[in-house]
């Protein structure tokens, strides 16, 4: 696991520190803490003056203001924000002097009786009853006054009406208007003082507001309008918040309520030697300078990382037990790692949430690559937080893509849950003052602080639990335009709306995502990127059920599929599977969608919904009558097209792709030494996303095979695509594939290296698990692949090659690939000159090898038989660490396999060689003593060599019996799906 912080603006500095970090040798190192020390003054960026070139489009700001501030109960009160922190007397003096020259005799400072009022503040609430407009303008001119809200915003936007609208403004997007209005109408503002805040900052029109927002002082608690809640007297008091991090020094001036510091490492100190833990604690609870969200919360500091950033699962286990004993309410984990198979850790996190600890964790800093979600933020019971910058762009570093626990048979969950500011956020410095840092380590405490503050606003704390808090956060989050759900989750944290929802909350179940619209782009990418059709592999949506009624729950009877007949719902088949017990606080609802046979040549939109009823034991019910229930409706909308011709359909073999965790599957590219594990899922929607998008743009339909090769109808597909496969093959699969190819299916294999000497060389001592790790395969399982293709007289070698070359006028980079050792003599083989990377790894010697066969094309001889294409390296179609893509080559190979068109650029290449016969060097053998059988679905341990298991049955979906509704869905109110309120 590592700590998540970095400064994305200081790449070189980061790199240096990373390497330093490596040299001081730690294992648990998540991200090193780096940052730029800023001047300790409150703000270094000037706030735009009244006539600044504020380009929030007038439409947008007007809209926002109009809707956000339409209630006028506290209409005479204004927030006056200062340029720094001043005592109450100084603040009063400034306001008096500013208003001296105006006739505003009738004004007063509204008293704030909260614990923070003893300390210097940077704002004041003023009631002004006469000459409001001139008073505000005068106030604005005072040198120490930064801004007056919200009425000044109104004035400004009116004033800006003439300056014209930014044409590209997404604020014109009517969906956002609808979203707002539906929310407004269904949920009138309960607490009017909320409207005092500057909802302005929340406008999600990131394009139009760019220039203005850039100038925002990056004071994250105030940008999220925590001051509105502070002013109402909520400051986090009575909430126990735990920071699991690098510790905190005893006398840090920013903290007033550090209840306890404990050390769980083998270093005898409680102090933070790095600054990571101090920063995180500051974002949550600092009371001065860079203010945190909940200054009065009870801080529990758990030091679980050493100064070298070493940490172990066992330290966490003991520390977590202590957190349970201490009845911690909110726990921040700005840490994570790829090992979701660390059962002791995952189980412990479940145990924490089951004990009502609200867990908030950083989603990881491995973006923009997909398939990079980190544990524990990827758990259903944890609030996983991604990062955005102050312009509402997803931060580049923020991890994304679906969870990969469910592969290969299922489909991943949507994560992160929400996003918030994580780039250039100010927080407490190691000893004093403030600094600015970036990373999802920063975004996580923003949410943890907000959650702490929110919990302190709720009168009946019994209602606050890990599920209800998450429900409130995701239901109130603001969706960012143009970003899909696997990057932003439910959108951007909105503290005040979460406050409103939480304070009217009634225990209930809800769904994440709350609807399935496979036509909605880009939010529902990748679903929206490919319509469904009869005969295709079922599309699976992995919905998370959140159950705020109790830590344990169950689904009553079975979920019901109700197609809308007037909207062609009967053209869709739906199958549902779900967690037998929803524990802790959550479970899954896997919805598989297929097209009915009668729609095989139909095109259109079909709709319906799934109804689920969740029940929980009624613990707090005095009558003790048994159970509480909650029924949730999941609208489903899909686009159906006629089944595409065979040649356009590609089947991606997911079943034979294995990855870390649990075993050591080394990277395909051996140069990537600081990322040695293959852990991104190898799925078309994770690290093969670009390839998928490319194939879609070329008009191909790509489906995923999550079951053995024996489980698909080959007559439906033009090409089976096998990339970087690590799994073994059942004998039945080998036989079936041979038959399929005889009958016209084609096969493309992108292989990778497999050399037992190199595998022995890249073993390492893993401090996390305290054991030696030996790879269980090479980059791909070449011996297994050779078994699969042997029948055609083909084989890959145990060579390991690297280098740049040109093929068909394209620049190519071969990154740790193998060569073709054997190929039929009537096939086409292309060779290149490459470096012998095996020699380099083993002996640190450089040697260039000419005529390395890298590509082979072959037409099988049987009548109507398919074609086979082999290539020795997968790096050029893999997003992770890719240097040069070779999608052109994939296109050419598909032209060959699917359409039988032989690319002349390859057949007439000067690099064409006589197909190798495989006599010059031995084929690779499986590494003796490898543990692949531990992770394999195909092998099982046996005396002597592992043997194949019996072939498993193919997955079978039992389609729900439809209960059709003869009604028309008027319109989905997808935007802003608010939790139901039961009176």
């Amino acid at each position: 696991m590592y700590l998540y912080m970095g400064n994305d603006q200081k790449r070189t500095a980061v790199t240096m520190i990373v390497w330093l970090c490596l040299l001081v040798a730690f294992l648990g190192c998540r991200l090193p803490v780096v940052g730029t020390e800023e001047d300790s003054g409150p703000f270094s960026t000037p706030f735009p003056s009244l006539n600044a070139d504020a380009l929030l489009s007038p439409n947008c700001s007007q809209l926002t203001l109009k809707l956000d501030f339409s209630t006028k109960v506290v209409k005479h009160e204004y927030i006056v924000a200062f340029n720094g922190y001043f005592t109450a007397k100084a603040r009063s003096d400034f306001i008096s002097s500013a208003l001296r020259d105006v006739d505003a005799v009738n004004w007063r400072i509204v008293r704030r009786d909260n614990p923070a009022s003893d300390y210097p503040s940077d704002f004041e609430v003023v009631e002004i009853r006469q000459d409001t407009r001139s008073s505000l303008l005068t106030l604005q001119d005072h040198p120490y006054i930064k801004r007056v809200t919200p009425q000044r915003m109104v004035l400004r936007s009116l004033k800006l009406t003439d300056t014209g609208t930014d044409g590209a403004s997404p604020c014109n997007d009517t969906r956002w208007v609808q979203k707002w209005q539906s929310w407004q109408s269904s949920r009138p503002l309960r607490r009017t003082s909320l409207s005092l805040g500057s909802g302005f900052w929340h406008a999600t029109g990131r394009h139009s507001s760019r220039r203005l927002l850039r100038a925002i002082p990056r004071h994250v608690a105030q940008i999220l309008q925590a001051d509105v809640l502070w002013q109402m007297g909520h400051t986090g008091s009575g909430v126990k918040v735990a920071v699991f991090d690098t510790g905190l020094s005893e006398k840090h001036p920013h903290f007033k309520n550090v209840k306890e510091r404990t050390n769980w490492t083998n270093e005898k100190t409680l102090d933070d030697g790095l600054g990571h833990g101090t920063f995180v604690a500051g974002v949550i609870a600092s009371m001065r300078e860079c203010q945190g969200f909940a200054p009065d919360s009870e801080l529990h500091i758990f030091r679980v990382f050493t100064n070298n950033q070493v940490s172990y699962t066992s330290w966490f286990l003991d520390a977590f037990n202590y957190a349970i004993l201490k009845k911690i309410d909110v726990l921040n984990l700005s840490i994570g790692g790829p090992d979701f198979m660390d059962h002791p850790f995952v189980d412990k996190v479940w145990e924490l949430t089951a004990n009502k600890v609200i867990m908030v964790s950083a989603i990881g800093n491995d973006g923009p690559l997909y398939g990079t979600l980190n544990n524990p933020a990827d758990q259903m019971d944890v609030i996983g937080v991604g990062g955005i910058d102050f312009e509402d762009n997803i931060a580049r570093f923020s991890s994304r893509g679906m969870t990969t626990w469910e592969l290969p048979g299922g489909y991943g969950r949507v994560k992160p849950d929400i996003v918030t500011y994580g780039s250039g956020v100010r927080g407490s410095g190691l000893k004093e003052g403030c600094r600015s840092l970036s990373g999802t380590s920063v975004a996580s405490p923003v949410v943890a602080g907000a959650v702490t503050l929110l919990a302190s606003t709720v009168l009946n704390r019994e209602l606050v639990n890990p599920a209800s808090m998450k429900q409130a956060l995701i239901a109130s989050a603001r969706r960012l335009p143009g970003v899909n759900m696997f990057e932003q989750g439910h959108g951007k944290l909105d503290l005040l709306r979460a406050y409103q929802i939480l304070n009217s909350y009634k225990p209930q179940a809800s769904l994440s995502p709350s609807y399935i619209d496979l036509t909605e782009c880009p939010y529902m990418w990748p679903y929206c990127s490919q319509p469904i059709y009869y005969g295709g592999m079922p599309t699976i949506v992995n919905v998370t059920i959140l159950n705020g009624m109790g830590v344990t729950g169950r689904i009553v009877d079975k979920p019901i599929w109700q197609p809308y007949l007037p909207q062609n719902g009967d053209y869709v088949d739906v199958a549902v599977s779900y967690s037998p017990v929803l524990w802790p606080w959550a479970g899954y609802l896997a919805v598989s969608v297929s097209v009915a046979k009668k729609a095989a040549s139909w095109e259109g939109i079909a709709q319906g919904h799934v109804m689920v009823t969740v029940a929980s034991p009624a613990e707090n019910d005095v009558s003790n009558t048994g159970e509480m229930t909650s029924t949730v409706k999941l609208p489903v909308k899909v686009k159906i097209v006629p089944t595409p011709p065979r040649s356009k359909r590609i089947l991606w073999d997911q079943y034979h792709n294995l990855r870390y965790p649990p075993g050591y599957f080394p990277r395909d590219n051996l140069r990537m030494k600081n990322d040695p594990l293959d852990w991104n899922g190898d799925h078309i929607h994770t690290n093969f996303r670009d390839m998928y998008q490319h194939l879609r743009s070329m008009g191909y339909f790509v489906e995923v095979l999550g079951a053995p090769i024996t489980c698909f109808d080959a007559s439906q597909y033009g090409t089976l695509l096998m990339v970087d496969s690590e799994e073994e093959y059942f004998p039945e699969e080998i036989t079936k594939l041979r038959r399929d190819i005889d009958n016209g299916l084609s096969l493309i294999v992108f292989s990778d290296w497999y050399n037992t000497s190199v595998m022995r060389k890249v073993k390492f001592y893993d401090e996390n698990t305290r054991q030696w790790w030996m790879p269980d395969t090479g980059g791909a399982n070449v011996p297994a692949l050779n078994d699969l293709i042997a029948v055609w007289g083909m084989a890959f070698s145990d060579g390991l090659y690297e280098g740049d070359f040109t093929m068909a006028d394209h620049d190519m980079y071969y990154a740790s690939g193998c060569s073709i050792a054997r190929f039929p003599e009537d096939g086409i083989v292309i060779a290149q000159t490459l470096k012998d990377q095996g020699l380099e790894v083993l002996k640190q010697e450089t040697a260039v090898v000419e005529n390395v066969p890298v590509l082979g094309l072959y037409q099988t001889p049987s009548e109507g038989g398919g074609r086979i294409a082999l290539y020795g390296d997968s790096n050029c179609i893999d997003d992770s660490h890719r240097q040069k893509d070779c999608f052109w080559l994939l296109d050419a190979l598909l032209q060959y396999t699917s359409y039988s068109m032989t690319p002349p650029s390859l057949t007439h290449s000067k690099n064409r060689v006589v197909p190798p016969t495989g006599t010059d060097r031995p084929l690779p053998q499986r590494l003796e003593g490898n543990h692949l059988y531990r992770y394999s679905k195909v092998l099982e341990a046996h005396l002597g060599d592992p043997k194949p298991r019996p072939l498993p049955a193919c997955p079978h979906l039992s389609w729900a019996k439809p209960q059709p509704l003869n009604e028309t869905r008027k319109k989905y109110k997808y935007y802003m799906k608010i939790l139901k309120i039961r009176k």
Partner: protein, 200 residues
């Protein structure tokens, strides 16, 4: 962007780097191995001079004491244990937090699934078994010899119930190679010894 990609397997990078780039001897990796073993030992070492200052109040006498409110084990998927040692299904939990002793699912001091070494398969049974009055000497013995790494926890527990809740949880003593249970079946232990070490 490579700089931001620090995997969990950080040590992996280091030794990998040594192996493939610098051809250093395996000494450095061995040093790393030795050091982690040392770290590990620190956690487990029992300093004979050191006794944690535990303050657990054991309730003497019989089990039929009457209380109006119960604390219970909160977390269970199906079962709960209350502070009187009753295990019951969630549906048989009374509003006051106690198990309904009349419900068929309720019984007191249940050691079901517990092995001779004091490790059980079900957390709630572990807690219930641990609450049995005759377990007091065993628990006191444990507290007197508790490893330093567990000091924070066991100096903070105040009574028999809190002690059993805490003792039965999986902890640093429950794992091998950090990410694997020593015994995935019987991992909740009220007894002194860690779970039996099973091969992976």
């Amino acid at each position: 962007t490579v700089s931001t990609k620090i995997l969990r397997k950080k040590r992996a990078e280091l030794s990998y780097l040594h192996h493939s780039l610098q051809q250093t001897s395996t000494n450095e990796s061995l040093t790393a191995e030795e050091r982690t073993i040392h770290d590990r030992t620190l956690l487990e070492v029992r300093d004979s001079d050191h006794h944690i200052q535990w303050k657990v109040q054991f309730i003497l006498g019989n089990s039929s004491r009457q209380i109006s409110q119960c604390r219970n084990s909160i977390q269970g998927k199906i079962l709960l244990t209350d502070e009187l040692g009753y295990v019951c299904e969630r549906k048989d939990l009374l509003v006051n937090g106690c198990c309904n002793v009349n419900a068929p699912s309720s019984s007191q001091y249940v050691c079901k699934s517990c092995l001779a070494n004091g490790c059980c398969s079900v957390y709630e049974y572990c807690v219930s078994c641990c609450l049995q009055p005759d377990k007091q000497p065993l628990l006191e013995h444990f507290l007197n010899r508790a490893a330093e790494g567990l000091q924070n926890l066991f100096t903070a527990v105040e009574d028999h119930f809190e002690l059993c809740l805490a003792k039965c949880r999986t902890s640093s003593q429950s794992v091998q190679h950090e990410n694997t249970y020593r015994n995935p079946q019987a991992k909740y232990c009220y007894g002194e010894s860690p779970p039996e070490l099973l091969p992976i």
